[in-house]
């Protein structure tokens, strides 16, 4: 029991330390209706290879996850995630971008990157969470990923062979995590800022 507790504390401390070591980046933060609206750019996710793949005509996915954390703690006060399915239209010039249920057509890759990786005024966390942490230091942590395979799709593509042994299902779960993770990831965090009183 003591060992398990010690391991948990170590894990939390390691995660908190890991997040505190993320590179800093300029964030625009505005407070509206008791919640924070953040603006930042993760366009550097799109390096040469990512741009080439986005132009391949195959559907690719860009996912941005923003979390708001209390300084010195591993506790995440709130999280917001959005993803773009980007397909270069080989039939007509341009790109088809699907965000949630909405689809739109953009003419250039730069427009696509601005649409998906340049975040403007995104609400992160609900007012109730901030209400409880007034006057405390917080920071935003961003994880931008290129082409992670969704859990559902990953489960469909990588399946264990039918059989009663436990090796297959356990191994497949681990393999899925490795195989379906993003092909490129960029992580960064904001400076510390104080929740308004």
């Amino acid at each position: 029991m003591r060992l398990a507790l010690a391991a948990m504390v170590l894990l939390i401390a390691a995660v908190a330390y890991g997040q505190s070591q993320l590179p800093l980046r300029d964030f625009g933060v505005a407070w509206s209706q008791g919640a924070a609206k953040v603006s930042f750019s993760a366009i550097d996710l799109a390096d040469e290879r990512v741009r080439r793949e986005l132009s391949s005509g195959l559907r690719k996915r860009l996912v941005v996850t923003v979390g708001v954390h209390l300084n010195g703690s591993n506790w995440r006060m709130g999280v917001r995630q959005f993803g773009c399915d980007v397909t270069r239209d080989l039939w007509e010039d341009g790109y088809l971008v699907r965000i949630g249920d909405r689809s739109e057509r953009l003419d250039t890759l730069e427009q696509v990157l601005d649409r998906c990786l340049l975040v403007q005024g995104l609400f992160v966390g609900d007012p109730k969470s901030y209400e409880l942490q007034k006057g405390k230091d917080i920071y935003f942590a961003v994880r931008a990923e290129f082409n992670p395979i969704s859990k559902k799709q990953c489960s469909q593509l990588i399946r264990p062979a039918t059989g009663g042994d436990p090796v297959g299902p356990i191994s497949v779960n681990i393999v899925r995590r490795r195989i379906c993770r993003a092909e490129r990831t960029v992580e960064f965090r904001s400076q510390l800022l104080r929740v308004p009183e």
């Binding site: 195959l58 559907r59 039939w91 990588i158 090796v167 681990i174 393999v175």
Partner: protein
């Protein structure tokens, strides 16, 4: 945990974990080989080629659609120039629509956005979904410019299949990149699960082996106790195996040791009593004759006239002579007890002994008085087969005789008017022979069952208390046991147990 247990567990653990390590190593190699058969560069390249082919196909369709649009415009220009009138435009477009399958519709509008002609392929709800696009061209038609919009379409499935092929190629390429790590994951998951199974098996093995080793350590501990002189130790035998056999042998050895010690102690005690009896007999016997002679002389040499005194002397002489006679008898018995020889064992038949006793029963009854003969019935029985034992027939007969006399006396006292019963039988058990004498007399209280064999312990007024002590001594010298308990008839039961010749 004892060293023995640690060694057994170490041996189990070593063999099991060496096997596990070896199997993980082999499984890792085998999995990598198997993985490489299914996921390799060749298949990955072919999949990528498949995706590229679909992309090229779509690009070719796109180029084709542009060419079709150009062809439509040229055809419109040519036909109108040839016929010289725009009124024929509708028929020309219809003709083009029929000629090019990918064309879904054509519209020609003039500079004022007035539709000059328009044709469209009728909608067919049963046909597969199409993805269409409009290729726009401008051309000079007669005196004015016109815009020609050609709608071309290809099946939607071409695009879907490209995406599907792309996804599969993507996953395959990831599997290919992670080849070594995927097979390692399988090997390690197998290893961890096998480890857990082995740990469980190891624990079960430890528990089972502990049961065996515990029995061995118990034996060692019991041996130490026996060595320290504790002969009350007895171990449970447990399951039927070699250790149980060893435990049984150990228990038997302790029982034999205990019996031997009891026998030796008893014989030592009897020896001490014999020494005491010899001295007592010697010390008492010597003055008896002078006492008796002195009394006789006093009586015979009195010459006085005092009648009363003369009678007193005669009375005193009679008392002295009677008591001296009693003392002589006691001295005789003590002396006989002291001189009791060691049993001289030789192969004999126990039934012969019983038959010999049978012959002497009338004499015994006569010796005990007529009352006993009338009141007590004596029954004897023995097996028809000889019961071979090593014995001293004379001494053992004396013992059985002694017990038989006691039994007859007890039965006749309890049943003075008849109905007394004494049974004497000899029989053979698995490894022992038995002589049993039982009666329907008053019996002996249980608290005295052990004491009756002590020298000088007696419940009879005229007894010396040596008879049963001699019986026990003789039986012990035969390597046997004599026991007393209650007979089914209600009286006492004496059982003499002797080892059979085969078991010696």
């Amino acid at each position: 945990m004892s060293r023995f247990e640690r060694k057994i567990l170490f041996a189990i653990g070593l063999s099991v974990f060496l096997a596990l390590g070896g199997s993980i190593f082999l499984a890792q190699g085998a999995l990598r080989d198997v993985y490489a058969v299914g996921v390799n560069e060749r298949f990955g390249t072919e999949l990528v080629h498949g995706v590229e082919a679909r992309q090229s196909h779509l690009m070719a369709l796109r180029t084709g659609s542009d060419q079709v649009a150009d062809a439509v415009v040229w055809a419109v220009e040519a036909e109108v120039a040839k016929r010289g009138e725009k009124s024929a435009l509708e028929a020309v477009l219809q003709n083009l629509l029929e000629r090019y399958e990918v064309v879904q519709g054509i519209r020609v509008v003039n500079a004022g956005d007035e539709v000059l002609a328009e044709v469209a392929r009728p909608l067919d709800s049963s046909s597969e979904p199409l993805r269409s696009t409009v290729r726009k061209r401008e051309t000079q038609l007669g005196a004015g410019k016109v815009r020609v919009a050609v709608e071309v379409a290809v099946p939607e499935r071409y695009f879907e299949r490209l995406q599907e092929a792309g996804e599969v190629a993507d996953v395959y390429s990831r599997l290919q990149r992670q080849g070594a790590s995927v097979s390692d994951v399988y090997a390690w998951v197998f290893g961890v699960l096998a480890f857990l199974v082995i740990v469980a098996a190891f624990l079960i093995g430890a528990i089972v082996s502990r049961r065996v080793t515990r029995r061995v350590t118990d034996l060692a501990e019991a041996s130490r106790k026996v060595g320290a002189g504790d002969l009350t130790v007895s171990l449970p035998t447990g399951a039927e195996d070699e250790v149980a056999e060893l435990t049984k042998a150990f228990n038997q050895m302790v029982r034999d040791l205990r019996d031997s010690r009891t026998r030796i102690e008893y014989l030592q005690r009897i020896g001490a009593w014999q020494d005491f009896a010899r001295r007592l007999a010697h010390e008492i016997k010597n003055p008896l004759t002078p006492i008796q002679l002195a009394a006789q002389e006093m009586d015979e040499t009195y010459t006085g006239e005092d009648k009363a005194y003369q009678e007193k002397l005669a009375h005193a002489r009679a008392i002295i002579e009677e008591e001296v006679a009693t003392l002589r008898r006691l001295v005789g018995e003590f002396s006989a007890f002291a001189k009791l020889p060691q049993a001289d064992l030789s192969p004999s038949d126990l039934c012969e002994l019983v038959h010999g006793i049978e012959n002497s029963i009338p004499a015994v009854l006569e010796d005990l008085g007529e009352g006993a003969a009338r009141a007590v019935e004596v029954r004897l029985s023995c097996a028809t087969e000889p019961i071979a034992v090593r014995m001293d027939p004379m001494m053992l007969k004396r013992c059985v005789d002694n017990i038989l006399r006691n039994a007859i006396q007890a039965a006749s006292r309890e049943h003075p008017h008849g109905g007394g019963l004494v049974l004497l039988r000899a029989y053979q058990g698995e490894r022992r022979a038995f002589v049993e004498v039982r009666d329907n007399g008053p019996g002996i209280d249980e608290e005295n069952w052990e004491r009756v064999f002590d020298p000088y312990y007696t419940t009879k007024a005229e007894g010396t208390g040596l008879g049963l002590a001699i019986v026990k001594k003789v039986v012990l010298e035969h390597g046997g046991e004599v026991r007393l308990d209650r007979a089914p008839e209600g009286g006492a039961r004496f059982s003499i147990e002797l080892p059979l010749m085969e078991s010696r």
